[in-house]
Symmetry: C2
Subunit: 381 residues, 2 copies
């Protein structure tokens, strides 16, 4: 690990604030004592504010995918018909998980870069009944934010549960679970929450427990009913990552100190900045205008430039990490994460690195103009 730390502008893991790193270096502690119970209580309250819910938020020791699995397997049963919004890798993952545990999956294919149209969803739901609608709120692979409130409204209208993957947006954009009627919300630590990977969270609307009484796919570690029982005692069913939970406390303190609305506004401003800069460079954003994510920006690689190469050079010459495309988008797009600890100086450094690299690869662009456009967009937001 020689040299300066790289700047992480990938869509997670993200840069860690000093306060979080300090908390990570704390002493080991007992996972069932009063200290832990108080910490879990405080963290739960902070997560509830970020999720916009007064109901339970369960803390799991896993990556975000574990939370999605927990949300699916705890409330659905094998054979249940579920409608899954697929417009990228993380929507597809929800379908894979549901299928792995025996659900009868109907995919709703959405063109990558586009958001799901609630009308399309409603039409398919009328051909139901479906037990649940599964959707990623923020599709990390394409930089698209789906209109999740409208998805939930359509699902509720059709009597289906709404199970949402908010892994790459919770803490960066408003999630109003109670207001929007999100039944199950899964999230992870290593995105907007400025933590290392290893913790995951599931918010569960209070009436879901009863609505799904008796349901369940095979599960043990991810059985949320057990997690809920333990939460009543300020515990988790199995030894949780004490260290990461201590760091979660520190991260939530930082978010509260900045103000939740301020954090969301900053994410929006940094997203506006990134988007404006790319447009100023004559590049095309991959996501349609109405659904562009405030936590990750996907950009089409210019004609003749392989984004794998772009990402490599940006890393090697500038010590800045951005991401390429996944699966069929490999080589075709690059992605800039602007989530968690991201300020304008980070955007600026990234733009400089991207502009310089694009120029070296044969695509002329003006770094100063990009940065100017970014600054104006951030200020105007």
């Amino acid at each position: 690990m020689a040299g300066a730390d790289p700047l992480l502008m990938i869509p997670g893991p993200t840069n860690l604030p000093a306060e979080v790193r300090e908390a990570l270096a704390g002493p080991g502690f007992y996972h069932r004592g009063e200290q832990m119970a108080e910490l879990i209580k405080r963290c739960t309250a902070g997560l509830q504010r970020l999720m916009g819910t007064a109901d339970d938020v369960l803390i799991l020791t896993s990556s975000g995918t574990g939370a999605v699995e927990a949300g699916i397997t705890s409330f659905l049963s094998p054979g249940d018909r579920v409608l899954v919004v697929e417009g990228g890798k993380f929507g597809e993952r929800m379908a894979e998980i549901a299928r792995a545990f025996g659900a009868d999956v109907t995919p709703l294919a959405v063109e990558p870069g586009h958001a799901v149209r609630p009308d399309d969803l409603a039409t398919i739901l009328r051909g139901g009944p479906f037990r649940a609608v599964l959707c990623a709120h923020n599709e990390t692979s394409t930089g698209v934010t789906h209109p999740i409130a409208e998805v939930a409204a359509a699902a509720r209208e059709a009597g289906a549960l709404t199970i949402v993957d908010c892994v790459s947006c919770l803490g960066g954009v408003p999630v109003c679970a109670d207001e929007w009627g999100l039944d199950v919300v899964a999230a992870g630590s290593q995105k907007c929450l400025m933590l290392p990977p290893g913790l995951a969270f599931v918010g569960v609307r209070e009436d879901v427990w009863e609505r799904t009484a008796g349901a369940g796919m095979p599960s043990y570690y991810f059985d949320l009913r057990k997690a809920r029982e333990s939460l009543r005692k300020g515990q988790t069913p199995y030894t949780p990552s004490t260290t990461l939970i201590a760091a979660l406390g520190a991260a939530l303190d930082l978010i509260e100190a900045e103000g939740i609305e301020g954090v969301f506004a900053r994410h929006h401003a940094m997203a506006e900045a990134a988007r404006a800069a790319m447009l100023a460079a004559g590049l095309e954003l991959f996501a349609q205008e109405a659904c562009r994510s405030d936590t990750v920006t996907a950009v089409r690689s210019p004609e003749g430039i392989d984004s794998v190469e772009l990402v490599r050079v940006v890393r090697e010459r500038h010590n800045v990490l951005i991401s390429g495309g996944q699966a069929e988008l490999r080589g075709r797009i690059f992605r800039i994460g602007h989530m968690g600890l991201v300020r304008f100086e980070h955007i600026e450094r990234t733009l400089q690195a991207v502009a310089d690299t694009l120029a070296n690869l044969g695509y002329e662009c003006d770094a100063n103009a990009m940065i100017l456009a970014a600054r104006q967009a951030a200020n105007a937001s």
Copy 2:
């Protein structure tokens, strides 16, 4: 967290060395880059040495229970008959997991404090066929180490897989997976490995992949076939806890620096010390002599003393954490963990605290005599 850090003498989480805490405070980093691939390679090699295997060891982001679930669900199928050694909470947990995923479980009840008798096991196995034998190597709840090499031999003889929970002993006592024929070995980070909770490990004997081709219970996050595929690229299927893996590297370096044999010898010496002190105090060890664990010592609470109270006073007056009994052993035993970062000074401080508290609760014992016995036993080991 006012005051000095408590001394953790519970059977996990354990005390964290300065080097591990420093690694935990490191910067965030990308989970699919070269840095991670090298780290995973180095950690895998270290874990292989501790497990005594040349085969794959997969790193999971979960607590130890997740590793046990992964080991069971990846290689067994619903309806499979499995024999589970139950002599305490963690054996029972293996049975619970197997049942949750549809296995046909035959429990082999072992009296708490006793080790399973391989002959009993062989007898039941002859009434098979069984697909697998599930056994905790070190039963944390009773301080018993089961004769796992003989268990594995009996299982192999009967054509059954051996799936072992080594969560609370890997890194503290020899585990010779290849030599003993352990097919699947699950372990966790927060015990002998001197790490916080949040990482788990599964060693898989090479021929198991083929022997179980086509098998599998519903799983996704814990699907070890996917983990194995990713390991070939120095990755994990889902974002792992980068920070904890960096700390794992630091912990394995400490173990290598001390020497693996030295680490095992130190664990044995500390266990001998704890046991000798308890006997010198006239207390009764809960585990039978032949099967006493080198990582946790369970002691019967003296007549009239509730171990819940003992544990509470030891914590509040002496800032030392020991454990009580679980389930039906609650109040009846107390347990001293001596795993990971444990040296004689820690044992001594613990004995002083326990002796003082026992005396206050009405059980006379001589702290100096206990410490002397401990020191002699440690030196003689």
